[in-house]
Amino acid sequence: MTPLSLGKDLVGLEHLSAEQLRLILDTAEHFKEVSERPIKKVPALRGKTIVNLFFEASTRTRISFEFAEKRLSADTVNVATSGSSISKGETLVDTARNLEAMRIDMVVIRHHASGSAEFLGKRIGSNVINAGDGKHEHPTQGLLDILTLRDRFGKIEGLKVAICGDVLHSRVARSNIWGLKKLGAEVAVCGPHSLMPRSIGELGVEMIPRIDDAIAWADALNVLRLQLERMTSGFIPSLREYNRVFGVTRERLERAKKDVVIMHPGPMNRGVEIDSDVADGPFSLILPQVTNGVAVRMAVLYLLAGGTPEPQQTGGNE
């Protein structure tokens, strides 16, 4: 019945339409309730087998996907790089084809190389969901960030969102930019120029170099994780200076709008990009983000498996 589908794979938000994004968000809205039940399970994906293929360390995303799969009654297998044939030098495409030979339905992939999810999706028949590929995209993170903003503000259109920090290396930033722009938000990026990708303005975002100006401008701040290796590889001089110049602190938030919200994709470096009293403070939506992550992933899994946009008609307690 649904004229709108997501296609075979979800590799990024770049190629989704506003309608497709809204479909996922609306479907996620339905699924939120499942996680609030005493028995957190619907039979929507009963009999489907899903492989979680994680080539990179992940706690939050991996567990969130696994909960989403289990709450939809799918059978899941987790593959991590260590202790598997990947550590024996098997190529990505061989790994995937072997998994597929065992008749699976979906692969959730996290990989350090940009493009790995698209690469896989083009080579196997199963649905592929990108759980973060290098510096490219992390679409379910982008979606859960947008869902969290929509919950708080009621709509995305016209919302001013500042994405702060290491945009150059951030897949979270790219997915947020694509998704937010398509839904009509105003997006700015803020951080040192040494951590900004070339021609970022061509994506329709404004560059605000100073954090104080971004804080004063924004309805919402999405504060990116600053990886320690950015300092060792020379993109910034020190974490200490980063915190002093770009850190989101309570003092700085005094210039913010009174209903400003703070998000962070995790894991946080407290005292570097964000101070504890902000992360744990009244403006923080960091834990609601995590809660929404499960619902968004349930929606994506469900829609890619061919589900209709009205999951409650097929769902229900077991």
Binding site: E14, T91, L92, V93, H111, A113, S114, G115, S116, E118, F119, D133, G134, K135, H136, E137, R171, R174, P197, R198, S199, I200, E202, L203
Partner: protein, 430 residues
């Protein structure tokens, strides 16, 4: 004794003498014997009807990777020389980044002997600048030359030490050979995977700024001024490099340059979808860069077209973009791309194109060929510039298949190739 060949009724273009008109070409004893109207060859000579075709000195490619010794599963001197012949090339210069590298007489001699055994296009080895291409100690240029090397280069690896480069240029000047440099300031390129720009930003791939090439080009030009040596700049890809070379030529420096067919045809957008067949170094740049290198070919700022023919196996390209090797095949698509992208749109006239693919390369590396003057080597290509064909990698003579041009419709292809007075490729019998 090879049988004499009479090529009748073709449009004979000899860029070395700026001549262009219908004529017969007679080849005997491995040389051009005469060019003129109504030539009658001796009895028993091979007569080739070239009506409606273009007869020219064979193309010469100053930059190919034949992978032998060391990587014979990707290409050999024999398969590369055959691919060259099928592309209308009668001579190619083989870069020394083999395993072991061509940094000694024995290795140079091996390539020459493999080429003689193959008996297809001529193969001129290029020796390394530094031993093992390590960028530390000069190779023995005198010995490399006496074994048959025509130039020196550490291609694939830029010479980062300005002192070593200066010494190489001074020393090469002694022997009258050019130093060919791969221009890439590697601390700035910083292990990037593609051109730094909006496409890299979207794909989340690490970019290589144009400045990484241009800084190195500028250094080499300045060293050429210091030493008076002939520096040949490989595979130029940016508009900034073009303007630096233009200025160097205005100053009268001995700076020459090449551009590849892919850099005058494609932009970084070819990498969209993580197409590893569009991954190369230098990377595909922006449209303004494509326009600049086209203009440079038109006005002579860039001297020659060279393919940078770089075979890689299917498995190596069938993987994550970051991990795939750089480079694409060039020999069997170069002429078609040049006709389609430069000649048909009216950017470069056909005789000028042939000058940049035959006469001028011969001059730069001091090679035989590039001319139809009486006594010149009987290295000839016969082209049909109007032929429309589709690139089918599975039919390549090269051992490898890595090209972003598969399925592309091109105009212009080699019909017949003659080296040393012998037919080495004939499409009709291919």
């Amino acid at each position: 004794m090879t049988r004499p060949i009479l090529i009748k009724g073709g449009r004979v273009i000899d860029p070395s003498r700026r001549s262009d008109g219908v004529a017969d070409v007679y080849l005997a004893e491995g040389r051009v014997a005469s060019v003129g109207l109504n030539i009658t060859g001796e009895d028993g000579c091979l007569i080739i009807d070239a009506k409606g075709k273009v007869v020219t000195p064979g193309l010469i490619d100053l930059h190919v990777h034949l992978r032998e010794p060391g990587f014979e599963d990707l290409e050999t001197v024999a398969t590369g020389a055959m691919a060259a012949a099928a592309g209308g090339f009668t001579a190619v210069c083989a870069m020394p980044n083999t395993d072991p590298p061509l940094d000694n007489q024995g290795a140079i001699g091996f390539v020459i002997s493999q080429a003689q055994k193959a008996g297809k296009a001529r193969v001129y080895p290029i020796g390394t600048i530094s031993l093992g291409q390590k960028g530390e100690k000069l190779s023995e240029f005198g010995e490399l030359m006496s074994a048959g090397a025509v130039a020196v280069s550490d291609d694939g690896k830029p010479v980062m030490s300005s002192h070593l480069m200066r010494t190489a240029m001074e020393y090469a000047k002694t022997f009258g050979i050019p130093v060919a440099d791969h221009c890439e300031e590697i601390t700035l390129a910083h292990a990037g995977a593609m051109h730094e720009g909006i496409v890299a930003t979207k794909l989340g791939l690490k970019g290589i700024p144009s400045a990484a090439e241009e800084i190195h080009v500028a250094r080499d030009i300045i060293l050429s001024e210091l030493t008076g040596a002939h520096i040949h700049l490989c595979h130029m890809s940016t508009r900034g490099s073009v303007s630096l070379i233009r200025r160097a030529k205005d100053m009268g420096l001995r700076v020459t340059a090449e551009v590849t067919p892919h850099h005058f045809t494609l932009t970084h957008e070819a990498c969209l979808g993580y197409n590893t067949n569009a991954k190369m170094n230098p990377p595909l740049r922006e449209w303004a860069d494509v326009e600049a290198v086209r203009e440079a070919l038109k006005d002579g700022t860039v001297d020659v077209i060279a393919t940078d023919h770089a075979p890689h196996p299917y498995d190596a390209k069938e993987r994550e973009f970051d991990d795939a090797p750089n480079g694409i095949l060039g020999l069997e698509t170069a002429f078609g791309l040049a006709i389609t992208e430069l000649v048909r749109p009216g950017i470069v006239a056909l005789p000028d194109l042939l000058y940049r693919m035959s006469t001028r390369p011969a001059q730069l590396f001091n090679l035989p060929g590039g001319s139809l003057a009486v006594g010149a080597p009987a290295d000839i290509a016969i082209f049909d510039p109007e032929a429309e064909w589709t690139v089918e990698p599975s039919r390549f003579y090269s051992k490898s298949r890595n090209t972003p041009f598969g399925g592309r419709k091109l105009f212009g292809r080699a019909e017949l190739t003659i080296v040393r007075g012998r037919v080495v490729y004939d499409r009709a019998n291919a």
